[in-house]
Symmetry: C2
Subunit: 166 residues, 2 copies
């Protein structure tokens, strides 16, 4: 079959969550291109209800890491991207699609990421305020990003286990 | 910079929702490899709370299309994939990540898709029953899939519009 993008399938199958990063920073142009990819994530009725905040300042990242219980490594990742959405009916679906685009675009650039939960977390409002987002906006996710210092391989279910036979 | 997967970035930036499909069927091996990609989507605590149901039978697809108000085109798409999740705290995040993986894997294979909402829809339970999923499982999404018969280009916000300056 022609026109199959095998490299894209490889990115999908090989991306894993990374929580340990090299000290090396990420060029700003790379971070911006990754956020640029997220613009194209699908949204219900094409409303694109999102804003992406990029955080590189070490003191700011340390503050976020201190608030997000399962995101301590944000302090050591050179970049943190926060995904915020307006409170639409499908904001969580939309914000999660954009988050997934960011994780995959980062992988395409050889970067490691970890998705830290935002929605439903008691700290969501505190982070919204800290990042000066207007009231009413929802924190969907925090993404730590940097060049990977580890190669985790958590167990994934087999195709047979996840396919629903009808 | 080396090792950038430009083709994967292209897949991310060029995928759009497609609602009109060619009559041509999708090889089963392709559909299965697309679902295989979804296995690798990230999940909170790696729980992978999902099942993927693949529907190709025309009568079944027509039935689903009749139930899903914004998914009438499911009747004419050769394949419909339903994403179900167990009712975990982050089932919607996890299911949306897997849905996004399916859309992108399909694009890598030259296929068009449209994400039809499942969660929060009054018809979610009816479709769960129809697809014989056990009680308690949540319908996250329905994905129509086939070779594209249209090339839509909805307006996307600019990077400047979606980037939150701190």
């Amino acid at each position: 079959m022609e026109n199959i993008c095998a490299e894209a399938l490889k990115v999908l199958k090989e991306r894993r969550s990374v929580r340990r990063y090299q000290k090396k920073g990420v060029p700003e142009s790379v971070t911006l291109d990754i956020v640029d990819c997220a613009r194209f994530a699908p949204t219900a009725r094409n409303v694109q209800p999102w804003k992406f905040a990029v955080l590189t300042d070490a003191a700011e990242r340390k503050k976020i890491a201190g608030i997000a219980e399962y995101g301590k490594f944000i302090a050591d990742a050179p970049v943190c991207i926060a995904v915020f959405c307006e409170d639409t009916k499908y904001y969580l679906e939309d914000g999660c699609a954009a988050t997934t685009y960011i994780l995959l675009a980062a992988k395409a650039y050889g970067l490691g990421t970890c998705w830290v939960a935002g929605d439903k977390k008691p700290y969501a409002e505190e982070i919204r305020t800290l990042m000066k987002m207007p009231a009413g906006w929802k924190l969907v996710s925090l993404i730590s990003m940097g060049y990977p210092e580890e190669t985790p391989s958590p167990r994934k279910k087999t195709l047979d286990e996840v396919l629903r036979k009808l």
